[in-house]
């Protein structure tokens, strides 16, 4: 038994940091993106439409996962930001559509404005007609709102259930506001009938944005900030004692997640061609929480899996079992909550981690210390062990970073 291999065994057994982008994740993401991106070539338009929507929703679920799974903020009003993004884009497309098609509504303003007695687009909304303005608004205002909310909530140490209740109330308020000010928002009927971007190229745009946001989230959660966030989630008092300004971390991740939700909303509006008050309210918010929970809230890829699984099952079951699909969905949720409290990816990740530990233990028990198996073990370590460099692993050097 050499010193190096003994160290190898011990190091693997004691502390292990996942690499930022494990090999399997890169291949997995590439495969999924390739399937989705080429789907329109061999698939049907209807399913393409669903897939695009699922991707938008998965970004939304990711934003919930970031604040809930990684920072311990349970928001039941995340659809506020999704809805804001969606409304900015929908309004913009609707205004330009009305202006370009004067015969459609007998005027150059959207139909719902005319019904509500407006004769021209209100000055404050007119600039939205340019899509660039709408995109800037989409990036700026939801983030600003999240910042204001974060400052008045997290700085006052309001967390947990109270935070959930406040966000829920906010979602209800925004929903009521949209229904009430129907001359500007389309009210209960929502905004529909505008130029929709429902084609393969826009699907690629959605996918590109999704990959970017999922990648950024992975970077964020596996950086130093991510580690601090997890410690804040697990024990905020102790994190504070250790000298971290807990509220600032929470505000930061909340703003980031809200901007992400707004982007998801904007893509959704352009893709679907319809936005209504339901897209800003508590129901969508809670649905998002479910998607994140089913997929695995403390993982980055979990929300994607969860959204596709739950929404896919919903659409599949509602046409196969129109009479009982809600019952089946309910049972599915109970099953997941009961047997996989960490969600699907959380549970898988846990069992993999346990398997690794067991394996590392076996290795430390001299199983792979010498002979041909040691080479295999080192090769594998080189690709999977983020604790040490590639060459360190291969040569069995210690080279620990932590």
């Amino acid at each position: 038994m050499t010193t190096a291999s003994a160290e190898l065994g011990r190091a693997r057994f004691t502390l292990r940091r996942e690499p930022m982008f494990p090999l399997w994740s890169i291949f997995g993401v590439a495969a999924v993106v390739a399937i989705l991106a080429t789907y329109p070539l061999y698939g049907t338009e209807y399913v393409m439409n669903l897939l695009g929507m699922f991707v938008c929703f998965s970004i939304f679920a990711l934003s919930i996962s970031l604040i809930w799974g990684f920072a311990g903020i349970l928001s039941l009003g995340q659809a506020i930001y999704f809805g804001m993004g969606a409304y900015f884009i929908a309004l913009s497309l609707k205004l330009s559509y009305a202006a370009e098609n004067p015969t459609r509504y007998g005027g150059t303003i959207p139909d719902y404005m005319e019904w509500n007695g407006l004769t021209e687009v209100p000055a404050i909304m007119a600039p939205l007609m340019h899509i660039e303005v709408a995109i800037v608004c989409l990036l700026f205002f939801p983030t600003l709102l999240a910042f204001i909310f974060g400052v008045i909530t997290f700085k006052r140490h309001i967390y947990g259930v109270y935070c959930a209740v406040i966000t829920l109330a906010e979602a209800l308020i925004l929903q009521e506001f949209i229904i009430e000010y129907q001359a500007y928002t389309g009210g209960f009927n929502g905004i529909t009938d505008y130029e929709t971007y429902n084609n393969m190229y826009f699907l690629w745009v959605i996918l590109a944005v999704a990959v970017l946001l999922f990648g950024t989230s992975r970077l964020l959660t596996h950086s130093r900030i991510g580690t601090v966030l997890k410690s804040v989630r697990d024990n905020d008092v102790r994190a504070e004692f250790n000298g971290y300004e807990v509220a600032n971390y929470r505000i930061f991740v909340f703003c980031f997640a809200s901007m992400m939700a707004a982007i998801a909303g904007g893509l959704y509006a352009a893709w679907m061609g319809i936005v209504s008050h339901l897209d800003t309210g508590p129901i969508l918010s809670i649905e998002g929480v479910i998607w994140a929970a089913v997929g695995g809230r403390a993982t980055v890829i979990g929300p994607f899996i969860g959204t596709f699984l739950v929404k896919g099952a919903e659409f599949f079951l509602s046409q196969q079992l129109a009479w009982a699909w809600q019952l089946v969905m309910g049972l599915l949720f109970i099953f997941v909550v009961k047997f996989m409290p960490e969600g699907i990816m959380g549970t898988i990740g846990k069992s993999i981690a346990m398997g690794r530990q067991r394996r590392a233990y076996a290795e430390s028990q001299d199983a792979y210390q010498s002979g041909p198996m040691a080479v295999v073990a080192r090769l594998r370590a080189a690709f999977t062990d983020g604790n040490r460099g590639f060459m360190d692993n291969l040569l069995g050097r210690s080279g620990r970073r932590d």
Binding site: A31, Y46, F188, T192, D193, A322
Partner: protein, 430 residues
């Protein structure tokens, strides 16, 4: 190595499932074309907030399809096959299910939607894919799409005769209450214009948020203002809550009658007949209409769906619009959408439970009868007034929009639709 294999299997199974998902999903829909069947989409919510009323429309349409098939089908023996979808009372899902029916199932037409919100959400889909929607609900009008046929009432068919009758019978001072969305607002606009015309006046006009069911302040106000009539355009659960609280406050129909173009037998069944007793509704159809077709319709419906069921005006329209479609298919002998829209459906007549009805040749709306009913102890209506003839639908009400009309036979509209413009409305300035 054992662990390694297990891990490999797990990963492979997961990736395989993920990769196969779209394939299975597509396969699911790849059904063989059956030439002796014609698919018809049924798009009404079977779950969610508006499921109660929409389920009755769904039932009426399925019953009509069964009857048509039993009588030998359409186009010389082909069967109508319903493709049922549940849009869950959510407009987004309405839109997606409409897309599915049009693109996957390639249905010849869709019978569907109840609220204006859902109709507006699916219309772009029908226009982009040149589908046909038959829409059975009364609605606020001011719309006419090439790809939609409206078999429910528009305001001029429910209000034009109702307003003078109410003013004449009860008096000119009206209190207007409605739900805060487009249908009540537009209806009230028309009602106020009619009041102006016939010498009435509005003492107050108030809107309650949708879903709001607490009316104490409104009823207090009614009690202090003492209007001659309450004109209500509340919808859904609000109707039940308002009638109940109105009676519990101590105002009876003899003191101040509630007049409305919305409350049907369905809502009265929901609240209990004692609360609606004596109040008035204007509609094209009531279950108590005395005609052989209606007696037949009601008994068949009860036999199929249960003795406790009541029929209502919207489901009557859902029922006869299915026949419109069947007759149009017979007439054109093809399932081509443009043939059905330009030749098949316009001008189609049917002896419906409410009387003879007809789709207007020009504007895609339907000639209907007007009736005024007073609610009885048994939850049915006494029909106290009936129009002498069917009433022509006018989607752009003359009183409010004198210089607009809807006419699909106008050369400008034909040109617009031929040119492939995304704008497929039949609205013109005259």
């Amino acid at each position: 190595m054992k662990i390694n294999r297990r891990r490999f299997l797990k990963t492979a199974a997961l990736t395989g499932t993920a990769a196969a998902f779209p394939y299975f999903y597509t396969q699911k829909f790849a059904k063989a074309e059956e030439s002796d069947e014609i698919k018809v989409g049924i798009l009404h919510s079977l779950s969610g907030t508006i499921a109660i009323i929409e389920r009755s429309l769904h039932n009426a349409e399925l019953m009509a399809i069964e009857e048509i098939n039993a009588a030998g089908g359409v186009m010389g023996g082909k069967k109508l096959v319903p493709v049922v979808e549940d849009p869950q009372s959510v407009v987004r899902v309405f839109r997606q299910k409409a897309k599915k029916l049009l693109l996957q199932d390639k249905v010849v037409a869709v019978l569907g939607c109840y609220t204006s919100a859902s109709r507006q959400s699916v219309l772009p889909e029908f226009e982009n894919n040149n589908g046909i929607l038959l829409y059975p609900t009364l609605y606020e009008a001011q719309e006419c799409s090439y790809n939609c046929f409206y078999t429910g009432a528009v305001p001029n068919q429910q209000l034009d005769d109702f307003a003078p009758w109410v003013i004449d019978k009860f008096g000119p001072r009206h209190y207007l209450i409605g739900a805060n969305y487009i249908y009540p607002k537009e209806t009230n606009r028309e009602w106020k214009a009619l009041l102006d015309n016939f010498g009435g006046e509005t003492v107050a006009e108030e809107y309650a948020p949708l879903g709001h069911t607490e009316f104490a302040t409104n009823i207090n106000k009614i009690a202090s203002l003492q209007p001659d009539v309450v004109f209500s355009t509340l919808v859904g659960d609000q109707i039940v809550a308002f009638y109940k609280q109105f009676k519990q406050f101590g105002i009876t129909a003899e003191d101040i009658p509630i007049c409305t173009p919305i409350t049907t037998e369905q809502e009265i069944k929901g609240m209990g007949p004692e609360y609606a007793l004596g109040h008035y509704t204007s509609f094209n159809y009531f279950q108590s209409v005395d005609s052989p077709e209606n007696a037949d319709f009601v008994s068949r419906y009860k036999a199929t769906y249960g003795e406790d069921e009541v029929t209502n005006a919207v489901m009557e329209a859902a029922y006869f619009q299915t026949y419109f479609l069947a007759q149009a298919l017979d007439k054109t002998g093809s399932t081509d959408a443009d043939a059905l829209i330009t030749e098949g459906l316009p001008g189609q007549e049917f002896q419906a439970p409410q009387g003879k009805v007809k789709i207007d040749e020009k504007n895609h709306h339907t000639y209907l009868w007007a009736r005024i009913g007073q609610a009885r102890e048994d939850g049915q209506f006494d029909i106290v007034w009936k129009s002498e003839d069917w009433i022509r639908p006018d989607p752009w009400v003359d009183l409010l929009y004198p210089d607009r009309d809807c006419d699909f036979t106008d050369p400008r509209v034909i040109e617009r639709i031929k040119s492939g413009d995304r704008d497929r409305s039949g609205t013109i300035e005259i």
